[in-house]
Symmetry: C2
Subunit: 493 residues, 2 copies
């Protein structure tokens, strides 16, 4: 709040240093900030309002697909975390341990949940007894903690907010259906509401969730050409059911282990949003989730114009409040130019300007954040025009991101082509400015060793194997062995 | 889910053992349950749906009074918690300490927030610089942890969910105005939506929040005659501003310490709801927050009637879904009688019965949970009648609770009268069945020593000093010294 008037100009350009641009934007737009707790952020009101809008749109989708919310404990007893071998191996190195309460040392340590499969598995084992109790379709909105070494606001923080769905089914087929259904919910939410196109597909064995049978993810492309995993959906098989003894009496009278899924998205999605749409002027928020969809900026030079302009501001706000999230900035201390910069930084999709001439003409100027395209709209038409324009902007943002992804997706056949896009690390090569980058379709032999070799030499990883992927059309890009899958590579966050 | 058919009959009567009745109801209605984490509960979907409804109605009130939401870190560095002396003394004995991350011992311990004044105070000190930055009106919805020795579902658990408002103001008067405004918001919410009448007033010095200048609370009466503190609002004065260095440049150019407030309600409110309205058949939920407002129970004996009854169920649900939260229970495995018990246990305000005769008459039977009062309503009128009836039930529940409170509020002048209601502990006396109990108005000298003596001998405490309390009309009920305040005593949760 103490920043100077021209702080917007101090924003780093994306081309100069994308990572610094990102942190600058998060802080200058007041989405989030650092705290004295190592690796933990504070989500400021503007960022949290964005999250609330995202939550509402996601939660509605969860409920429409038959899910209900619940709340499970923050702490997980160490003995429960250790039950599933892969799970504990995956998470134990990065959990925070509670060892004392007040002055007393605890008999057993608890970790702060890094995810809740273990505690929920134990609780479900007590709730489930018969096929009549299935399916269990529960989601929780919660905070989780993973003590990451390197953190970045929204993208990777020690504590973050997320939702985690945990479902239980009678058959493997139902569990797989649920896993894919929720993957589809994520894709629909991210593409429709966040205007970010994603690839939805299966993760490789190497990249799957610790303890899962199969993991699926949605993968988005950021404007620096790096991919970001935006959500995951896991078919847990019977792994947790077996160690937590989640069994049910089936219709045939036989007691069986249940089948489970889990799926989650987090405040990381805010990072995805920022990096998929933002530009050198700041954020660019999709109207469907923007806390402020329209900002009204009054303009006057002569004091005698002020009253009439402000009166029209009130009138316009009154007309538009029922149809959009609107805010008028009538603060005398800042110039209109300062406000233009401020709300561009904050990514507000539409700016509505009202000056003395607009009062005379009974029309307003609407300016799109996306491309600063202006239009003059009579006051009588704004309540109809603004919602249309918001829809147009939402659509245009998605199209822009899709175009960007298409321009930055390539199919390669050979290792030479592959390393032209993802230069070999050992030679310290960097991709030239404006070079190919982004997603790369390539054939793969299916071996983890090849996948690992690609990562070690180029930092590129297999992001996912989309459901509707093409068949392999040649040998493995790395080893030259038989190509068994056509997969999507990228460097990733 | 594995309970037998007649489990409802096994509910303990309130008169026999209120505390056991309470726990029975919470578990049988599937609001919450125990977990393997000491003192932590799981809030089950039905209980969480209730909490979501309460959250929505509260959040709307916070936003209408100008507040925004944000999210602050879960962990509080030990050095920050220790800055405010009274605060650390109040909370340090009951906090959970995080000492390790993965394999590594942390340089500084963190506690899991028992409340967030300390971490928020530190963060606010960085955000606030000028009078232009004030007021700061932020709320957060969060989990907190206090390692209580004795726990009870919803009422006192190690972890609980709550909201905590943290505001900053330029003057003492503004802070006091905010403190009282939010106390009023709580009173309005609890009385209007939860149908529970409360006394709103100031806490004594002894009972105030650790670190506050003044604490106010809302106090409700449970059906066993004990009071429950349902929410608190604190004027923090400059206590935290001084230790966390929250200063601002005022309009007069002078740098000053800011004035703060904090206020909160928690999932404890669910406990209040249960104990203020429930009866020997289970929960009784106010329609405004009930997850299911109307349950439809189809009734048929002959198989040939089934199709017509179910068709009418569909029709009725279609008519009512737009005007209320409705659910039809068409499960063949349970009898109508079992369902009556089940939804009475769950406190669903209205039951709608449809049998073959109702199909013929094109009318339905509506039964109020409150008093089982029945009415026959033509199908053509239900979409108008049901919302009316829900309003009537909401109002009747409030009136019933208010009547109960009035019957159980007494004014006393002497210690003899006082101890007739709150028998002396040392003689092991128990109040006879049906005796006076509840709130007691009495005069008090204002001395903490007297307040403590009353508590030690009778367990009764001063709940609050309501804003519109009568003037003292006699000597202190305990010591006989000058009566300086007329206050409300009760035994409390």
């Amino acid at each position: 709040m103490a920043e100077g008037n021209d702080y917007v100009n101090e924003l780093t350009d994306q081309e100069d240093n994308f990572s610094r641009w990102y942190t600058d934007v998060v802080r200058k737009a007041k989405l989030a900030d650092y705290t004295p707790v190592r690796g933990s952020m504070v989500i400021r009101p503007y960022g949290y309002a964005l999250w609330e809008n995202m939550q509402a749109l996601l939660d509605r989708r969860f409920k429409e697909t038959g899910h209900v919310n619940a709340y499970f404990p923050l702490l997980v007893p160490e003995s429960l975390l250790q039950k599933e071998a892969e799970h504990v191996e995956g998470f134990a190195p990065e959990v925070a341990w509670v060892t004392h309460a007040g002055q007393n040392k605890l008999e057993e340590r608890y970790c702060i949940r890094p995810t809740s499969e273990a505690i929920i598995g134990d609780i479900y084992s007590k709730w489930i007894d018969s096929w009549r109790d299935l399916p269990v379709l529960i989601n929780q909105w919660a905070n989780v903690m993973r003590w990451e070494k390197v953190t970045r606001l929204f993208l990777r923080t020690a504590e973050f907010l997320w939702q985690e769905g945990h479902t239980v089914h009678a058959t493997e087929a139902e569990a797989e259906e649920e896993t894919l259904k929720m993957l589809g919910v994520y894709q629909d939410f991210i593409e429709t509401e966040l205007a970010v196109p994603v690839w939805a597909g299966r993760k490789t064995e190497k990249e799957k969730f610790a303890g899962a049978l199969r993991t699926y993810s949605v993968e988005a492309l950021m404007r620096d050409g790096k991919a970001l995993q935006a959500g995951t959906s896991h078919n847990l098989g019977q792994h947790f059911a077996k160690v937590f003894d989640i069994t049910f009496q089936d219709r045939d009278g036989v007691r069986k282990h249940a089948w489970q899924t889990s799926w989650g998205v987090s405040t990381r999605l805010i990072g995805a949003l920022i990096m998929a749409h933002g530009d050198d002027n700041g954020l660019m928020l999709p109207p469907n989730v923007a806390p402020i969809q329209v900002v009204v900026v009054p303009i006057w030079r002569k004091e005698e114009d002020k009253a009439a302009v402000l009166e029209m501001v009130d009138q316009v706000v009154g007309l538009l409040r029922p149809v959009c999230r609107i805010q008028a900035d009538t603060d005398d201390n800042n110039t209109p130019g300062w406000k233009y910069n401020e709300y561009e930084m904050k990514g507000v999709p539409l700016r509505l300007e009202i000056g003395p001439r607009d009062v005379q003409n009974q029309s307003v100027v609407l300016v799109r954040r996306l491309d600063r395209k202006k239009e003059f709209v009579p006051v009588a038409e704004i309540a109809a025009r603004v919602p249309e324009l918001l829809k147009e902007v939402q659509q245009a943002l998605f199209q822009r991101a899709l175009d960007f992804r298409e321009q930055n997706t390539h199919a390669v056949k050979t290792w030479a082509e592959f390393t032209e896009i993802f230069p070999l690390r050992e030679v310290g090569q960097e991709a030239p400015e404006g070079s190919k980058r982004g997603f790369v379709w390539a054939n793969w032999c299916g071996e983890t060793s090849c996948e690992q070799a690609v990562q070690d030499t180029t930092k590129a990883t297999i992001r996912c194997m989309p459901q509707d992927r093409p068949a392999p059309d040649g040998p493995c890009v790395r080893c030259g062995g038989e190509g068994k899958e056509r997969v999507l590579f990228a460097k990733a966050y």
